[in-house]
């Protein structure tokens, strides 16, 4: 057998133990060792964005990240962004409303990128969203709807914050 290492990974708030070869990427560890197949492999070369996950809240390409690199850090995948009770994340809901995908394969990566794009403050205009979502390929060509969904979710997030701010002021 090939040599393996033991890892303990914090994924979506749960601790996972696994033994993998040192060369195994976060993407392969999620898909092949942990049955978290929501994260997709579109190119395995960091060029399509389908494997986008969050590490400590920032978007990373899990195909270019070794599983061993992210021990002790907080990993979030597409399986971890809806509420515990099953309520969709506002970005997921906006994707349905705007028909922001077709075959669904790039969608987990698009959503993870979109959540981060909004969090980074890069969803201020359609042009900015296009630029900051340009790392995520969609061959079905749903870009215009994706941009509309991100815009809608960003506006909701901004309004939400504003409402909270108002409440605090009051």
């Amino acid at each position: 057998m090939t040599r393996t290492i033991h890892l303990s990974l914090d994924i979506n708030g749960k601790q996972h133990e696994l033994d993998v070869e040192p060369r195994v990427t976060l993407l392969d560890a999620l898909r092949e060792s942990l049955a978290l197949t929501g994260t997709k492999k579109g190119c395995d070369q960091g060029q399509c964005g389908a494997c986008t996950c969050h590490v400590d809240g920032k978007r990373v390409l899990s195909c270019l990240t070794l599983a061993a690199q992210v021990e002790g850090r907080q990993i979030t995948t597409i399986e971890g962004i809806a509420a515990e009770g099953g309520d969709l994340h506002p970005v997921q809901a906006a994707f349905i409303e705007n028909d922001a995908f077709q075959c669904g394969y790039c969608t987990p990566g698009q959503i993870m990128s979109a959540v981060a794009c909004i969090r980074e403050g890069h969803a201020g205009s359609e042009e900015e969203i296009r630029e900051y979502m340009s790392g995520n390929l969609c061959r079905c060509g749903a870009y215009n709807s994706i941009v509309a969904a991100v815009r809608e979710a960003a506006e909701m997030a901004a309004t939400g914050v504003a409402a909270k701010d108002k409440a605090e002021v009051a």
Partner: protein, 781 residues
């Protein structure tokens, strides 16, 4: 029409699983004992295999086995085939060279599969592949289609002298020559349609499972047509009889044509599963996808279009050479013939058309249908030619088109197709209005004042969808019928399963098909499940391509629903002691028209299964099957207008606006139709501005990653202005024409017409990259 019925803007039923990472694609499947495959592929475009030594690889860690083509052949597995027979104009059949699933003597393109490694992990399979020693005797290769036709070119198949597969024609060559000789004006143009890689985001994958207890095979695969895969693997490749082979195409992450075909990997993994007695999964990596997924387009053509003194088109003569790659893929022969030359009349009344098509082998991956398949090639050729003619004649491109439009239907073209309905002028007018065509000169002046070059271009496309009447395609060489099937299964509690031979890989069938049923019966959309993609569940089907699922697949559902409704009405009439003719189905109830008597839908369903009180002689149950064979193709059409601004300093093209005015017939769900148009436009704009497959002179693929092959990204595309001018299709019960390919067909010529208008040089090939545009600007001045 209910709120969830036909025409409603219903959000998709299938969305939630895709949004939450719970879609189930082939590579997501895991079964107990499953192992991983890696294919060893030729690094050479053309070579003899001298020796394969797998001994070192077999002893590598985790390796189960390493198998090659000789073992595959010894077990009787057959060659891959092309399923559409084309005869050359001399009457000889097309020259189909042998395509082994694993090459034995000769490899003919970079990526040709030679051997398979099965190991515990994908990493170990790759490691072991490195240890397989293959001695090749490298042969001269040819990747370029013109070079492949020259005397002395490397020969790919002994069956095909000169690498010529067939030399086919349609129409009357002499009549075309006569019309051209007597024309007032003849426009001549050379047209190149660039080679593309389909690149669905989900790479191809397959999981082969052999069950020795039952001597039964299961094949999970990324297919647009699982039943066709089963048929072909059974009838031609001798993998297993159909009753011993189950093919499942679960969620499929886009196809665009490239997942119609049966590739070597499905066959080899099924066979390897039996040889090794473990389930074998293979997933393509992206470079493998570039190397081995069937490419699209790759035509070069010489065109002559003749006009009389009144600017009416009198003839079109086309000479096309199509590159089909190293082997004939499943439908490759139909694409540059019956899916291409039969559309060369476009939207125009052209009395005489002749097209000659030669197809040629090269040391490149096989070429087959990609989104639009032949129809984009026909439209690009025709719309570039008529635009060029307008410029030569000093006429408005809109008015030259308008003058030549077909205006009365049905219209028999000289190239087989019989157009049944359309209103081309309506789309032209709508598009010109949406684009503010008349205001263009002011906008151009504004651009010029800023040092930019502005151009506007249009394209009036037609396509043939809803493939196809079985007897008609059979007479033209198709190896299969192209009907579709459906079963409507009403459960005892009134919920409904619709089993369809169509396959959804992004088209939203789970929603649109359910809308049809919900609208007809007045039951909630949540009570309807659409079942597809599994040969053990669904009766025979022909799958999804060429926008056939609405026009053909849904028509089959309509037929099955008709039968279900007829039986339900009989039962309801019996229960209410009314006349069958007086029963109407509304809002989930069967009512006696004009009275307040009604029974709920579920009660009729229950009565059919309890069978306590059925009309005398009626069989229990409420489940009906139907097969629908279309009587004609459908003919979506439209007008697209692109407006661009080019920076003369850099050659960069900015799409200022893009207008699409389409006639798709009746629309089931506007939301989904808009998505399909957006997607087609993205791929068409990709072809026009960004995408091109490049091989070097040795047949090495230079564009084998997303860093080398430019796919459209979010910041490459403009917003689109869409509108519809629909004329219902008269040949199917729902009046549907189809919308899947239109965007990819209509947009490339509109863009190139716009860019060439902007730069004042008509000599420009796709993709119109900044470099090519910059060079064309400088060549023009």
């Amino acid at each position: 029409m209910g709120v969830e019925g036909i025409g409603a803007r219903v959000t998709r039923k299938e969305d939630k699983r895709f949004l939450t990472g719970k879609g189930r694609y082939t590579d997501d499947m895991t079964v107990p004992g499953m192992k991983y495959a890696y294919f060893i592929r030729s690094p050479h475009a053309h070579a003899k295999i001298v020796n394969i030594d797998v001994s070192a690889a077999k002893s590598m860690p985790g390796v189960i086995d390493v198998l090659d083509g000789k073992e595959l052949q010894a077990d009787g597995i057959g060659n891959l085939i092309c399923g559409w027979m084309i005869h050359s104009k001399d009457g000889s059949p097309m020259k189909m060279g042998a395509w082994r699933p694993l090459a034995i003597d000769t490899v003919r393109y970079v990526g040709d599969a030679v051997a398979i490694v099965v190991a515990d992990t994908s990493g170990e399979a790759r490691d072991a592949a490195e240890a397989v020693v293959i001695d090749y005797d490298v042969l001269p290769a040819v990747a370029d289609v013109t070079a492949a036709m020259r005397a002395g070119a490397p020969q790919l198949h002994p069956e095909a002298p000169g690498n010529l597969i067939f030399d086919w024609q349609i129409g009357d060559p002499d009549a075309a020559d006569r019309a051209i000789a007597s024309a007032a004006h003849v426009t001549e143009i050379d047209i190149v349609n660039n080679r593309l890689s389909p690149n669905p985001m989900e790479p191809r994958a397959t999981l082969g499972i052999y069950d020795s207890a039952e001597d039964h095979y299961t094949c999970y695969t990324t297919s647009q047509n699982p039943h066709v895969a089963r048929l072909v693997m059974s009838a031609f490749y001798n993998v297993a009889p159909e009753n011993k082979l189950r093919v499942i195409a679960p969620d499929v992450g886009g196809g665009f044509g490239s997942k119609i075909y049966i590739y070597p990997e499905e066959i080899v993994c099924l066979w390897a599963s039996k040889k090794t007695n473990v389930p074998v999964k293979w997933t393509s990596d992206r470079t493998e996808a570039f190397l081995t997924d069937a490419h699209g387009r790759d035509h070069i053509s010489k065109v002559r279009m003749a006009f009389d003194a009144d600017h009416r088109i009198t003839a079109l003569k086309v000479d096309t050479i199509a590159n089909l790659g190293a082997y004939m893929s499943l439908f490759s022969s139909a694409v540059p013939t019956y899916l291409y030359a039969t559309l060369l009349s476009g939207q125009y009344a052209i009395p005489t058309i002749h097209a000659n098509v030669r197809t040629v082998y090269t040391n490149t991956v096989p070429v087959d249908a990609y989104r639009g398949a032949g129809r984009p090639e026909a439209t690009y050729l025709l719309e570039r030619t008529i635009e060029t003619a307008a410029r030569e004649l000093g006429l408005s491109p809109a008015e030259l088109r308008r003058k030549n439009f077909i205006r009365s239907f049905p219209y028999q073209t000289p190239v087989i197709m019989n157009y049944d309905a359309g209103n081309y002028e309506a789309s032209l007018d709508a598009a010109m209005q949406a684009a503010d065509w008349n205001g263009f000169s002011a906008r151009r002046a504004n651009s010029e004042a800023r040092g930019k070059k502005r151009g506007i271009g249009m394209s009036c496309y037609i396509e043939a969808c809803g493939i196809a009447p079985s007897a008609a395609v059979g007479s033209l060489g198709a190896g299969v019928g192209l009907w579709e099937s459906a079963e409507v299964r009403v459960n005892a509690v009134g919920t409904i399963e619709v089993l369809t031979g169509s396959h959804s890989h992004g088209q939203g069938h789970e929603t649109t098909f359910a809308q049809l049923v919900a609208g007809r019966l007045g039951v909630p959309i949540e009570s309807i499940n659409i079942v597809h993609g599994d040969t053990d569940k669904v009766q025979m089907g022909m799958g999804t391509y060429g926008s056939r699922s609405g026009a053909v697949g849904m028509s089959a559902i309509v037929k099955a629903l008709d039968k279900v409704e007829a039986k339900a009405k009989k039962i309801a009439a019996h229960l209410m002691e009314a006349s069958e003719e007086d029963i109407v189905i509304e809002n989930g109830e069967l009512k006696v028209a004009g009275t307040d008597k009604a029974v709920p839908w579920f009660q009729v369903a229950l009565a059919s299964y309890t069978a306590h009180n059925l009309p005398s002689g009626m069989e229990p149950g409420l489940k009906e099957t139907a097969f629908y064979d279309p009587s004609n193709f459908t003919f979506p059409a439209g007008c697209y207008i692109a407006e661009v601004e080019v920076d003369p300093e850099t050659g960069e093209t900015d799409i200022i606006q893009f207008v699409a005015a389409d006639d798709f017939g009746n629309i089931i769900n506007p939301l989904i139709v808009e998505g399909q148009v957006h997607g087609g436009l993205a791929q068409g704009i990709g072809q026009a501005l960004l995408e091109a497959v490049h091989y070097d002179e040795n047949g090495q693929l230079l564009t084998a990653s997303f860093m080398d092959y430019a796919m459209p990204r979010a910041d490459d595309l403009p917003s689109f202005k869409l509108s519809h001018q629909n004329t219902p299709c008269p040949s199917n019960p729902l009046g549907i024409k189809g919308c899947g390919e239109a965007g990819a067909i209509g947009s490339p010529p509109a863009l190139i017409n716009a860019i060439t208008d902007a730069i004042g040089n008509n000599r420009l090939t796709m993709p119109a990259t900044s470099m090519k545009v910059w060079q064309a600007i400088h060549a023009a001045h």
